[in-house]
Homo-oligomer: 349 residues x 2
Amino acid sequence: MARNLLSRYPWVVSPFVVSAPMKVMSGPALAVAVSHAGGLGFIGPGAKTQDTTNDLEKASVLIKGANAIPTTSSALPVGVGYQLWADDVGIAAAAIEKYKPCAVWLYAPKQGSKDYSDWSSRIRQASPETQIWIQIGTLQEAKQLLQLSEQPDVVVVQGAESGGHGRANDSMGLMSLFPEVADAMASSRIPLFAAGGIADGRGLAAAMCLGASGAVMGTRFLAASEARISRGYQDEVVRASDGAVSTTRTLLYNHLRGTFGWPEEYSPRTIVNQSYVEQQQGKPFEELQSLHDEAAKAGDKGWGPSGRLATYAGASIGLIHDVRSAGDIVRETQHEALERLQQLFPHKN
Amino acid sequence: MARNLLSRYPWVVSPFVVSAPMKVMSGPALAVAVSHAGGLGFIGPGAKTQDTTNDLEKASVLIKGANAIPTTSSALPVGVGYQLWADDVGIAAAAIEKYKPCAVWLYAPKQGSKDYSDWSSRIRQASPETQIWIQIGTLQEAKQLLQLSEQPDVVVVQGAESGGHGRANDSMGLMSLFPEVADAMASSRIPLFAAGGIADGRGLAAAMCLGASGAVMGTRFLAASEARISRGYQDEVVRASDGAVSTTRTLLYNHLRGTFGWPEEYSPRTIVNQSYVEQQQGKPFEELQSLHDEAAKAGDKGWGPSGRLATYAGASIGLIHDVRSAGDIVRETQHEALERLQQLFPHKN
């Protein structure tokens, strides 16, 4: 199954490392760098769907230049992600037809199966060689996917450890969630990827043991030199530790940023700072809002323990200690995973 | 490190499978069966500390009989667990001196480091060959352990997926928690075991990739034929699925059972049933209490989706589909883990 999958992404080196389509922060430079290093890089959704089209244009230019990626596929060797509740399927389909990304990652529908079906048929029509990835976070979603007439090519199973938007109230750690979903989907033979809480080769190897064809990392790539991220935000990802205590799921920062409209099943994990601490202490939202807006003018100082700005990140922050090139992150993660498996393999015959 | 550890438990077959010391339910028959199959079985705390002493007596008799376990160690080849907030250190130390269990598992102190130090020095004095295992669930606890003058021999890292009592508000899935704790404790060279959400060889192999010397399973052994558990409870562990939705952490069932006194850092994960559903709907505790007490008289019918009795279990319930002998569970988990690692090992040279 994994071998068959690799044939669709001929530049990808096993074990399969994916950079998540993080909104805005996964720009074309990051996605291209990840694919260039033998992983699969996804461009994240933009503030508007048209921004993603522009990112695809930039990625295709980068790939034609010094960053050529050896591939026998006619598809663009980077993927792209859309948030179905917010993105425009018409604009997305036009971009997919024009740039033919190797994979499109669909997430957060407003109307579940209906949205997945609509998007999938538009994408299949626009670019038959493009593979459809769908991210889920619950067993129920897995069972619903099996009912779709247009089955996805890959399913990403996101655990409770994940950063940014994940399931608000029905998430669970990958250690239990992944194998239960894998059993439920086994008959479909759809390859599964694990996402959430993975930031190094230990997590990649563990995910593979649970049955994943590869691992998706988000937070680790926030600390990639190619990430489209403010310095203050990135510094905080590197600084923070103790993901269980230093991060939480809350809608507060969405509201402070004026982000509304996410389906209610979702809520983002973020590194906590003064906005959250003071909300817990009972400070009224209006005061938090004006303090937040002041902090937003302060640039990089707006992040950090005494900062007030949204710092969406996963529970793996304690495993991330430096900013590296995306290529180094991909290669070191792969190397560490192989080394782990080699150490554990009991009979070398 | 793992090899050195195995020398302390000479009957244990790699990979290292441990049955958790579940209160009352991990009786001598279960613990002896697990060790007999090449794992390490722990007797759980009893309703009173003296009950645990009686269980050690029974285990030692079992081991002298048909269940002889080949060991070169003078220690009893089963372990025993105590809940420090509730158990009597004097009674425990006397039992440890008399029966010399190979390992004592300490958990849930009322006074953190002080309790661990008191218990550890009493145990070392009572039985120098007995190894001390301490279970933690947070990075902070890991750092506190490193400050103890009497270091434990093994540390168990329990993830948020775990059943029964775990951390109430600061737990996290093993995928992120385990490697962060492992990094923090690396210099101590203390072997770490992973607990929480693991119910088969996939989880065991994954835990080893994360850096564990082995895996602890609790819920899986609730569905062992040797578990000291009501049939209705066991049936429910086998029936239930979707651990993310069907289980939750709540103090409700402790209170319905009249169990008070757990330090506030802890709260148990349980399969939800009518008691919880109706509490969420606003039914007063007194009514829930009397309905619960009625259900308790109904025997096995008191469990199940329309039952009302406590059904402490972990998020791995969806991976458990049958009651097996503990020996089969140990051997199949080991076999599946080795098979996984073998499939993933990239170069067979």
